[in-house]
Symmetry: C2
Subunit: 191 residues, 2 copies
């Protein structure tokens, strides 16, 4: 029986593709194994198990998302940077419906790559907020606010939580516009 020649990277990458097709919750080791042309237990030679796979997928997706946010915002500032970052965020979530939920896993301190990806993602947001003059505690609060708004929106959208016919793109742009207003007049605490 000829070897397929897998390694951790190919396994995780295929898991990402599969997750985008069938959904994060429906990503199963059985489906992944059959997709890769191996028996299910063979995956354990490359990944410690289902949970470890989810964690590695989180690293991949978080790194991708961080890169896309950073790329979108680079060379811009203020509302321009905010809009670019926000669009990149939602684009990623829509283009990668299986990977996006994986990004919500809190970084594993034992995995430097994961920690680094998480820092890059938060750092991209932080950088945009610096363009509004927000630093210290204000920047922390504002980062949390922006993450909450973006994450909440794309999550509700993906879940089909927006029932009414009103155009969703428009609602998102309004949300981002309102965050722009908020950041320009952020309730300062002098952090």
């Amino acid at each position: 029986m000829p070897r397929v020649g897998l390694n951790q990277q190919t396994v995780v990458r295929e898991a990402a593709r599969l997750a985008d097709e069938v959904g994060f919750q429906q990503l199963t080791l059985a489906a992944l194994a059959s997709r890769l042309g191996v028996a299910l237990p063979s995956l354990y030679k490359h990944v410690r198990g289902a949970d470890a796979l989810a964690q590695k997928l989180a690293v991949l997706a978080t790194a991708e998302l961080a890169t896309e946010m950073t790329t979108a915002a680079v060379g811009r500032s203020g509302g321009d940077a905010l809009r670019a970052l926000a669009d990149a965020y939602r684009d990623y979530a829509l283009r990668h419906p299986g990977r996006y939920p994986a990004t919500q896993r809190v970084p594993d301190p034992a995995d430097p790559e994961h920690v680094e990806a998480g820092e890059r993602a938060v750092g991209a947001i932080f950088a945009v907020l610096r363009g509004y003059g927000l630093t210290g505690d204000d920047a922390v609060d504002a980062t949390r606010a922006l993450r909450s708004a973006l994450h909440g929106f794309v999550t509700l959208e993906a879940a089909g939580g927006f029932g009414l016919p009103r155009d969703i793109d428009r609602s998102y742009h309004q949300l981002v516009a309102s965050m722009d207003i908020s950041f320009r007049s952020w309730p300062r605490t002098g952090g």
Copy 2:
């Protein structure tokens, strides 16, 4: 063998309690059955299955959340109403960590109780926004924005997504304060 005397309501209620203790994802028919003093398949006399239980739990939790938001906002308006509603929202999510995720299930059109609960929840938010003079498309956009912000925040908080030491209560209050500012100067579209 004496009967335990279950019905759908007792089953769903106990499921809610159990979910709050062990988490929504860890809510299992096996655990629920043993908690109720019954063999697992007996639950099927009261609930169609695991998915149907999740749906009934969604109805319960959505109705509770809607009631708490409505109660909090009644008799208030503007920023006052907003803060009261937002606090009620997060309080519920923190007090009921197992029920809260259930509320995210999109209402089943075939279950009038579910639809009604969902409408009451959205209606509570809508009512608060009317206090800002927001109606029509503006109100739809603003509702989506507020839901996104609140849901995103409590979800990230519950997931442990806020790593930094900065006080989380404070960040939430800042978020709500910034939404207040946004709603007062909402980017109008003339809906």
